[in-house]
Amino acid sequence: MTLEAELWSDITPIPLDDGPDPLAPIAYDAEYSEAMGYFRAISQKDERSERALQLTEKIIEYNPAHYTIWYYRQQILFSLDKNLYEELDFVKDQIDSNPKNYQLWHHRQVLVEKLMDASRELPFIDEILNDDAKNYHAWTYRQWVIKTFNLWENELDFVNKLLDKDVRNNSAWNQRYFTIFFNPTKPTEEFLTQEIEYVIEKIKMAPNNISPWNYIKGIIAKSNKDIGILEELCKEIENQDIISPHVMGCLVDIHESRARNGSAIDKEEGIKICTLLADKHDTIRKRYWGYRKIILASH
């Protein structure tokens, strides 16, 4: 018996009913097995007590993805009116060792929603992103915190720092878009012009990285600007003898937009670049560039 015997003397653990196939012998970890037996017994009675809370902790240590346990734990916490700040510490420890577990992040969200206090959240998320700057759960949660508690003010600075550290971080580029366009205060025309300048500088640092290209095309489309504003950037990179499929792809976009308005030279030039991409510089996506060629030819 690894659980305190006295505390559990009134409970008869319920053994596992492993479905209709009881053929194979059961020999798994005795401690986990015992804890689950008591869990089945007390959850059936919906017991909300200190010992039940401790039991959930024990099972979670083994298996943090056990979603039924988490829900039960939450009901106990609320019923006993526990100190939820202590629980935040508990979840933090859990997330530190299991940063990609859905249940843990959602549990934290429920707690913070109940506390209506997000003062610990951004520093905590920063820590997690410090270890893995692309953790999807952390980013989703960060967006929820920012929206719910109106913490937009310093977010662009935070994103700037991340992009200074790693210009290839796609999650940070996405967060940039979120920070600018999901903010209840809409960006001014002047801001957007500066923003495009900012991205252009970043692209120059790593022209073969898809993320800022996607981002800049996204904001150009969103703000109804002309993709032609990127031509100078493309030429500048090409003049440095850098061959980048993304630069070439951007030029295809530019030529196509002009071919659509009747420019025969652009149509021809666009087709020429598509052929180069298909045959030489991005052969793995040959069929995609072939498709772009057909579209260009149709203008």
Binding site: G19, Y28, Y32, V110, Y288
Partner: protein, 328 residues
């Protein structure tokens, strides 16, 4: 596991044996720690077996009995007996029962009631369970499930579509919630859901198609987001979406086939996330469904919207809800 030898063919018999053996590993703690997703494992294994022309390798009677034992009074299914019901497992249960042609073994009206109860009336989003987590994965689960049960009338479809469209991003992709980064698996869920309710016109197919084929790396494998590692499971999430959009041929077929085949365990069977890693049933299914979409021989065709063998979807009379284009 053998990493030295480069596999050039699909090890059908070994994969069948591997999947059959999964339910006999009860001495491993790991088996019990994954108990909460046992039902998913049955779906992954059974679908893989059907694609391998071996659906009978798991006894129908046992499978159906097990699935039935996971249904709760409220109509939803849990990942295993004694766990809480959840939309994820409710979809897996329905998919298994449809494969086994055994929907009459459960109370379908109760399932419909459960799924419908998970929709938020104001936003159109779906919560996974009572706990309240919202994610576009659950939008797919709900719509796919109801479509298989032919009861889409039970939810507000236009509201559901509205929520999914809020999750569409500047790069043409979709995330798990409004503003969240595009991710190939979330994209499958969103585009699959839109396909089910005849709303593919809302997808920017060229822009998204580009983003998806851009996921192919030099080694032939696909990643799920820019600058991430390749993983066999994206052979499903990325390819299924491209297939739904009629742009599957934008992928280099030969290179991807080679990548998936190299991730096979040539001794124990099964497919891993990438060559050299341990095989598991999740990656085994998504390696096989990927190969099936690439029209690899020896495999039955898979439906890119429902992730079920195509003959199953045809049997229940659901039209092909996607743009079809053969490799040329």
């Amino acid at each position: 596991m053998d990493t030295s030898e480069k596999q050039t063919r699909l090890l059908v018999d070994l994969h069948v044996k591997y999947i059959q053996s999964l339910d006999t590993k009860k001495d491993d703690l790991e088996y019990w720690l994954t108990e909460h997703l046992r039902l998913s494992g049955v779906y992954w294994g059974l679908t893989a077996l059907d694609l391998l022309n071996n659906v009978d390798a798991l006894k129908k009677e046992d499978v159906v009995k097990y699935v039935v034992s996971c249904q709760h009074d409220n109509g939803g299914f849990s990942g295993h007996i004694g766990h809480d019901p959840h939309l994820l497992y409710t979809l897996y249960a329905v998919q298994i029962l449809v494969i086994e042609d055994a929907l009459d073994a459960v109370n379908v009206d109760k399932i419909v009631e459960y799924v419908a109860s998970r929709q938020d009336r104001d936003t159109g989003a779906f919560t996974g369970d009572e706990w309240g987590e919202i994610d576009t994965r659950f939008s797919y689960c709900a719509l796919s499930c109801l479509s298989l049960l032919k009861r889409l009338d039970a939810v507000n479809v236009s509201k559901a579509v509205e929520f999914i469209m809020l999750c569409k991003n500047f790069d043409g992709g979709f995330g798990n919630s409004p503003g969240a980064e595009s991710h190939a698996a979330q994209i499958f869920c969103c585009v699959g859901a839109l396909a089910i309710v005849n709303s593919l016109h809302l997808v920017d197919a060229d822009l998204l198609g580009w983003w998806l084929c851009e996921r192919q790396l030099k080694n032939g494998g696909l990643n799920g987001r820019p600058e991430k590692l390749e993983d066999v499971c994206y052979s499903w999430w990325v390819l299924s979406t491209l297939s739904i959009l009629g742009r599957l041929h934008w992928i280099n077929r030969e290179k991807l086939i080679e990548f998936v085949l190299t991730a096979q365990d040539s001794e124990g069977g099964g497919i891993a996330d990438r060559p050299g890693d341990m095989a598991d049933v999740f990656h085994t299914l998504f390696g096989l469904t990927g190969l099936s979409l690439l029209e690899y021989p020896d495999l039955k065709p898979v439906d890119p919207v429902y992730c079920l063998p195509k003959h199953v979807v045809q049997r229940i009379g659901l039209a092909e809800r996607y743009h079809h284009k053969e490799f040329q």
